[in-house]
Amino acid sequence: MACSSGTCQSGCYKEEYSVNDENKTQKLVKANCEGSNGVSARGGVANGHGLCIKCKVNETIAATHPDVTGRGGGDSLRFCTDCFRSNLFGKFKFAVTSNGMITPSDNVLVAFSGGTSSRVALQFVHEMQFRAQKNFDASRDRSLPVFGVGVAYIDESTVLSNDSDRAIDEMNLIVSSLAPPAKHFHVVPTENIYSVDSTARRDRLSELLNAVSDTTGKEDLLVQLRMLALQKIALENGYTKLVLGTCTSRIACHVLEATVKGQGFSLAADIQYVDARWETPVVLPLRDCLTEELKMLCSLDSLKSVEAFQQPRSGINGLISSFVNILREENPSRESTIVRTAGKLTPFCFNRIPEVGNDNSHLASQRRQKKYNLKPNESLPPKSFCLVCNSPLKKPDDTNLDEFYNGKTSAQIYMVACSSCQYQILPKEPSSLEFFYSRLPQSMTALAKDNLNNQKLLRNQIQDCLLSDSDDGT
């Protein structure tokens, strides 16, 4: 199951982690030969001898760490600690290299919530950077620079009204322990998305969220605001990539969430390795790792996570995550199947790292990149995106354009939102809708304006016979 995605390269990374002492290995080899083993290397079948199915030398995790057994979707019965770790890191590394997620010239921002997934993402990015640094120090010409890493935590204490000081202290410790190279830790409150003074920010944020009555809608809006906050940090501090710890299990939930919310069209945009809809491209290097695997790694390597503020999901999202939990118990590979199915949907043109012209300065780095998955994507860019969730809209509703130009602001807002956001986020009543719109951060509304202008341009091109009925005087 774990290696089914063809990304299993664990052998290649084995030395990195190998901590065996020779004696133990030899002893085990001997033991292995004595017990004629006809153990099938498939499925989660318990290995009678408790040996790793990969190296066939070390004992499985279940044997060495009885306390973590039951996690990792059967991995604990199949792999030894080293093979498990290198297999997991292999999946990460393969996702990074085959999609060109991180290049030596990059400055990477890792979004860290304190949870296990983003903890592992941070750990793996750190390990990659650490090795790059070692190579850099050892190489003579120093042609490959080492990519930079920063860490960001979005403090949602204003929204969730809790106290996050202790958690932030703990996270600070975690980040500072991951050095060298040193990483800057940005702690930014959600309300930072507004460019007004700090008390006004809080008010705006709570007014915005209070305008949303649907529980699920509020939760989804908050996720969107978190992304805006991260993007702002990236933009202001010169980061070129944003790494999220989104894992297979989370994506599986998202697939069902989007399906249930009627977002079948835009779903493919959200679940790829790369999402360059944003100013700073978002990358998901843990897309092929299950949450159980990540949890197991954290407990094996005592990676500390700060779970204090992991909110249980609510509404539709809550229902779906408990459904996925049931599915996982029934069949541990179900989450991977869901993600694989959704992975067959056609992605959008922004689902890959944009080519940055012919910049010859890093020829060496380009040479070293293995870009397997970067086949040119012929699909046309979507014409417009949802004002709230930034998902590509199926089609700008041309029939309503007249209504749009002559209509009220509220009607205009509705036109640049997807049907899901119209239903679960936007207030129905025109005056509260306009109030809601006025409380959106500028970064959102600016995008919407671009959208509208594009539509205007388009309309002008097609229908130049129309009198210019714009009344905004711009």
Binding site: T216, V255, L256, A258, T259, V260, K261, G262, Q263, G264, F265, L267, A268, G315, I316, L319, F323, I326, L327, E330, R334, T337, I338, R340, T341, A342, K344, L345, T346, K394, S419, S420, Y423
Partner: protein, 366 residues
Amino acid sequence: MMAGEGSAAKPRGGRLCTICNGRRAALKRPKTLEQICRECFYEVFEDEIHRVIVDNHLFKRGERVAIGASGGKDSTVLAYVLSELNNRHDYGLDLFLLSVDEGITGYRDDSLETVKRNEIQYGLPLKVVSYKELYGWTMDEIVKLIGLKNNCTFCGVFRRQALDRGATLLKVDKLVTGHNADDIAETVLLNILRGDIARLSRCTSITTGEDGPIPRCKPFKYTYEKEIVIYPYLNMLFTYAYFKKLDYFSTECIYSPNAYRGFAREFIKDLERIRPRAILDIIQSGEDFRISTFTKMPEQGNCERCGYISSQKWCKACVLLEGLNRGLPKMGIGRTRVLDNERDKDTRQTNGTKSIESKQCGTLDF
């Protein structure tokens, strides 16, 4: 406006119907949660189905249409509504009832009685095709031979073909089935859970098999199961003086009691409870998924033995039948052939002890 609402709420605490604003609201419509009266419920219920039929050009004037009738609620309501709409809007259709007799004592014989009563009530000619006459075996006999494991494989494969054969005998142009919105939403989810992208791409189409001999369509594609249940219930109590009640049969198949409850169905019911529109949203998603059109489809040929459409030398029913007749009932079950896998997947799922599917085996809605 405020005053108006106040006075509306006064009489005996009952609210007025949000559609006609005249009569007292009698129910909360499951699909929209609007409070409406019975009369308006019938009207919107039937009108929606009429719109679906018209907007999707499901029928042409003069066509002969068979309604797959199991005696269950979906197909019974479908038969009633379709004959009503056919008269009211003058579709000009010749309607027939088509039932399959699997030969399950204590289950199908009873439900067939219901269909026979429907035949008289609605004045629609009924055709019953039985496994016994088509294949020489009843389900009772098959179960006696192979036991309760895998019997749904036989039943499912045989029924699909039996319906087509019955439709051919009736010389109809189309076959309609009682699949409702809940069924389709469930199918969308199941195909995602199973990884079946080919089925995912076509499970939401309202008409299928247009390249085959007899296209099938689902006029209840957007109709909520709850409303199908409410519809005859209200009928029983009120209105339509000439019409006593919709008579339908509701017992699960005696050979697959476990298949009835599945996670997926329960999940959909849970979603509906929080957000009724979720069912329609799932169907919408199913229609909107960006699936590249050249997913390879199995090449369609004809069975060398019986002539039925088949991607293999022999159709699945003939393979299973050959096994039965030769006393090798395992034949055709399991992963024996590469191309059979896909079809087997369905049936294996249904037979699992921990089924994630829910649709009761033995209804004609598949």
